[in-house]
Amino acid sequence: MTDQNQPLLLEISALNKNFGGLRAVKNFELSIHKGELVGLIGPNGAGKTTVFNLITGIYVASSGTIKFKDQNMVGIPPFEITRTGIARTFQNIRLFPNLTVLDNVRIAYHSHAGYNLLDAIVRTPRFFHHEKELTERAQDFLGVFNLQDRQGEIAKNLPYGEQRRLEIARALAAEPQLLLLDEPAAGMNSKEVVTLMELIHFIRDRFKLTILLIEHQMRVVMGVCEWITVMDFGEVIARGNPAEIQSDPKVVEAYLGRGAAELAKKLSEKRSHVA
């Protein structure tokens, strides 16, 4: 399914993050090859979002390395990490609420707008040229996500599902190679989840992306991801493809507790006896 011959895009090794005495992430390891769609799951408080914040530079790792395109990203400020090709969405949507839909996307182009402050203030031809170009690119993006008719609307007035889509559109406009999605299906109904899953596949193929996904809804994780890494209490407890993860007793234990894990084991044994 995945192509192990593809070069490594992201390689995290021995990553640790301490908040005072709390070790939020312990010896975290993760390798992602180009073009893969990887899931990161785990119970609440397992440290998944912390890992995202470490990759994007919002937190600085206590120790360990995060290599992206063979370059260590630890200690580099977030905006530079974004410029090297990592974009993300947030667990609780973080749009620019009072800006229009179009401006939300156009902000992603700021780092390569093609004109400087002086061009903007005196309105040189360069300003008009690049501004037109980036506006059209942003509109194309909105078109892909079927938001083009909403371009003039204030972001906070959009319905929830469209806000999610806009956030993904904005992240993609930053032209990433690696996209981090933090619980994209949170708060969605089952119909919206189906379209979201289609959307994730679609953007991966369309933009030739590598995607790392945090998700609680097992339907999404199992249906979309090729590889899954499971975390609990800041540590990796299992990794493998969806089928392997589903039958891993450690994962069941982490999610449901020890008693339930034993029960599940007995049940599956009983089922195999019957068979």
């Binding site: 947030f90 800006l99 902000i107 203030i121 079927n146 959307l199």
Partner: protein, 422 residues
């Protein structure tokens, strides 16, 4: 670029110029008395300083009480330059200030360029480097200045006296803005890393420091002509309605052009959500510094213009209590509204300073300071977004670019309905 935008640009500038000329005619004919002519100029000055503050607070979200300090710096800088020319017939002020501005600005650019090649230098070390740059550049400016004061003075003496005065005044205003901007750059570097509330306190401290320094400007700083707490007199009254209104127009256009560009959007995104802005590749420190410096530049310009209205400056004008005036204006006019800021600035000058002063019986002028807060209170209850909210005149409004239907987009979007979910 496109026709509609062009028409609104020409319309806006045309109408503005018409209003400026109309007011000038009223002043020349004598319909507007000197009292009202002064007030309307003060309104324009307040418009400039408040627009600067609106950039910093309304658009970039940094609560600053330092605007008044930069206003004071601009006022005293420009006043010193023109004072030395008009009273002492020496271009020493002009020469020294312009050399300081140029050399310090140059050293900033140089240090910035060098620092961009070093990664991971902590802000405090960077700050110290800039500070060293300021000291060296300032020292050099004074030393070099000694040699060219006389030739420059001679050069200006060739020109007709009134023309030379106007040129020096114009340069003094620009230099005052630039100096305020440079001070804000060096001051903002450590302070802008603070969170919003702490930033407000730190900038309030700045305003108080400036006021105290001005109180002792003759003893502590060695500028005898500023006369410290006794107040500086003898500044030529050069600020005419034409000067101040043209400066206001220029500031409005610059603000508008900036806001409707990528830089402006980046600036606003910092206000909206800092973490999301970071994640979109926006350098927060750079955006905050840029806005702060530009806002302070406007404050410096406004201060310089103010100094030449009455020809008299007193440190009490720059008391921190007064630093709330621009804050009141932008809250009144609408945070994040250029139109509202300018309108509120004129209203502030004409209604609160003018009409109320005339209407209230003698001895009751101080009641204005009861009327202010009451008005503000009513405002907050009825229209918390300000008089104009987010309203802008057509020229100042962002034009929504038209959608390109069918042609390009159909080819690039194979599955446009993919996300039709809700």
């Amino acid at each position: 670029m496109n026709l509609k935008a062009n028409r609104s640009t020409i319309g806006f500038i045309g109408v503005s110029l018409l209003i400026i000329v109309f007011v000038q005619v009223l002043i020349s004919v004598g319909v507007l008395s000197a009292f009202w002519a002064t007030l309307i100029s003060i309104g324009a000055v307040m418009g400039i300083v408040s627009l600067g503050l609106n950039l910093i607070y309304g658009f970039n979200g940094q609560f600053s009480l330092g605007q008044w300090g930069f206003y004071a710096i601009g006022a005293y800088t420009a006043a010193d330059v023109t004072y030395r020319w008009s009273q002492e017939h020496s271009a020493s002020g002009l020469v020294i200030v312009s050399l300081v501005v140029l050399l310090v600005g140059g050293s900033f650019l140089l240090i910035r360029y060098m620092l961009s090649r070093i990664r991971g230098l902590d802000p405090l070390s960077a700050f110290s480097l800039y500070l060293i740059g300021v000291v060296i550049a300032g020292f050099l400016a004074v030393k070099i200045g000694q040699f060219i004061i006389n030739p420059v003075t001679a050069m200006f003496n060739i020109l007709p006296a009134s023309l030379a005065m106007q040129i020096i005044f114009f340069l003094a205003v620009l230099l005052a803005g630039a100096l305020a901007a440079e001070v804000s750059f060096i001051f903002g570097m450590p302070v802008l890393t603070l969170g919003s509330d702490y930033f407000g306190i730190a900038t309030l401290g700045f305003t108080i420091i400036v006021k105290v320094l001005l109180d002792n400007s003759d003893v502590l700083l060695g500028f005898e002509e500023m006369k410290g707490a006794r107040g500086m007199v003898g500044i030529p009254k050069l600020t005419s309605w034409l000067w101040v209104s043209l400066f206001l127009l220029a500031v409005v256009i610059v603000t508008r052009n900036l806001l409707h560009s990528s830089n402006g959007r980046a600036m606003i995104s910092v206000r909206e959500d800092e973490i999301a802005a970071k994640a979109m590749g926006i350098d927060l420190a750079q955006q905050k510094t840029l806005t702060f410096v530009l806002g302070s530049f406007f404050a410096g310009l406004a201060g310089a213009l103010y100094a030449h209205i009455n020809g008299f400056l007193h440190p009490n004008t720059f008391n921190f209590i007064k630093s709330f005036d621009p804050m009141i204006i932008i809250v009144f006019g609408g945070l994040g509204s250029v139109t509202g800021t300018v309108m509120a600035a004129f209203a502030w000058a004409l209604v609160l300073e003018g009409v109320l002063r005339l209407v209230l019986p003698t001895g009751f002028e101080t009641w204005r300071f009861v009327v202010y807060p009451v008005l503000l209170l009513i405002m907050m209850l009825l229209r918390p977004k300000g008089l104009f909210g987010a309203f802008e005149f057509p020229f100042l409004r962002q034009v929504l670019p038209p959608l390109r239907k069918s042609q390009g987009s159909a080819a690039t979007t194979p599955k446009p309905t993919i996300a039709e979910g809700d």
